[in-house]
Symmetry: C2
Subunit: 233 residues, 2 copies
């Protein structure tokens, strides 16, 4: 009744299906800006573009809908769902809350090995000038920190929130990048230092502030381009 001694490899067991690929492609297109806010998703068009039938396209769209990336009401064309300023702010407010919680919960579990890994990631992050690599390292830092907390639900939610806001961050980090990049590395360093001291509450505060700073930076860039409220039909 026990599982095999060999670690299961879910990658092999989860052979991906067409609709998985399409969902990924659409997510990437939305986050990368190829599909702008309000862009119309035409099922036939997409099906032809991917060279498949409408069925997997529709299933992919259902997921994006559930993830909050698109709006789709019955018999109407689905559109990419943009974030208003107030919603973007709320997303970051929640991230600050949840990621602070996660980080604080992680502190007691952070052994030296993991802390060193965090420091290494942050060193490379400070040096890099490549936009894509920067985003990757930033993601790694937070992921490494949070996974120690062993809170799968919270991590899932944070991922969803990052997902929704990602395109705005991409635009931002493509634009300015470096100065804020240094600042990010400094804040990460503070987090690591407090974590080494075992100061869970200090870490919570530092992470919360870190995220709030990111919001400020992102907002500066988008202020004039985004609608203020979230009630836009």
């Amino acid at each position: 009744m026990q599982g095999p001694p060999i670690a299961s490899t879910p990658e092999l067991r989860n052979r991906r299906t067409t609709s998985d690929h399409i969902a990924d492609a659409l997510r990437a297109a939305i986050n990368g800006g190829q599909l702008e806010d309000g862009a119309v998703l035409n099922q036939v068009e997409l099906a032809e573009h991917f060279g498949v039938s409408r069925v997997p396209v529709r299933e992919a769209m259902r997921r994006l809908e559930a993830e909050g990336l698109i709006d789709a009401s019955a018999h109407r064309r689905a559109v990419v769902r943009g974030l208003s300023i107030s919603r973007l702010s709320e997303a970051y407010e929640l991230r600050a809350l949840l990621e602070g919680h996660l980080a604080a919960a992680a502190v007691p579990q952070l052994d030296k090995a993991r802390l060193d890994r965090l420091a290494a990631i942050n060193r490379e992050l400070r040096e890099t000038t490549d936009h894509t690599r920067y985003l990757e390292l930033n993601g790694q830092f937070h992921t490494t920190l949070y996974e120690a907390a062993e809170r799968p639900l919270a991590i899932e939610f944070v991922d969803t929130l990052r997902q929704r806001a990602e395109r705005y961050v991409q635009m931002w980090s493509r634009g300015r990048g470096l100065d804020r990049g240094r600042q990010v590395a400094r804040e990460h360093a503070t987090i690591i230092r407090l974590a080494r001291q075992g100061d869970a509450d200090g870490v919570r505060r530092a992470v919360t502030e870190h995220i709030e700073h990111t919001l400020t930076a992102v907002l500066e860039l988008h202020e004039d381009q985004l609608p203020a409220n979230g009630d836009a039909s």
Copy 2:
């Protein structure tokens, strides 16, 4: 270019589709316990049961999957995803965090009318002996409280969490109910009192504790029946 001054009525614009109904029915079945944890969802069977083809069934399942109610990997039968003790606990931990946040944010917006409405709901909740009505009123209380906070994302997340835990609460409240019902009403009353005083941080603490108490009560009932960890394949 501005929207019309007349409030849009999304109910009319969102005529429901078959797959919407099926998604609802499945959710209800899962939460009501007709579909137990680990139950297998057979597409053909469900399609026949609802008298439709497999297509809308599949689309409904994609949503439930995204909502975390079922597990579905490629080419395999989907199963109802149960919550282990640790996941149930985490769900409540997050609810405590998020609902505390929401309640605190709501306090400055709570005018007398709304506070009175909360009090009225709580009065009826204290008196009722009907299990279904109790759940309804309890939901109304929290919804009324949180909607004043104007935080749609947070509310969406809390709803998701409640969704996932609902079946366990149903089992609980069907079982014992009354004594805990009184206790719930008392805690609600405390929240209302603190809100009237404008004590946002007090409200946050009260709500957090309120939710933690609920977890304790639910856990007492399920302790022996649920798996301890969440790694079950």
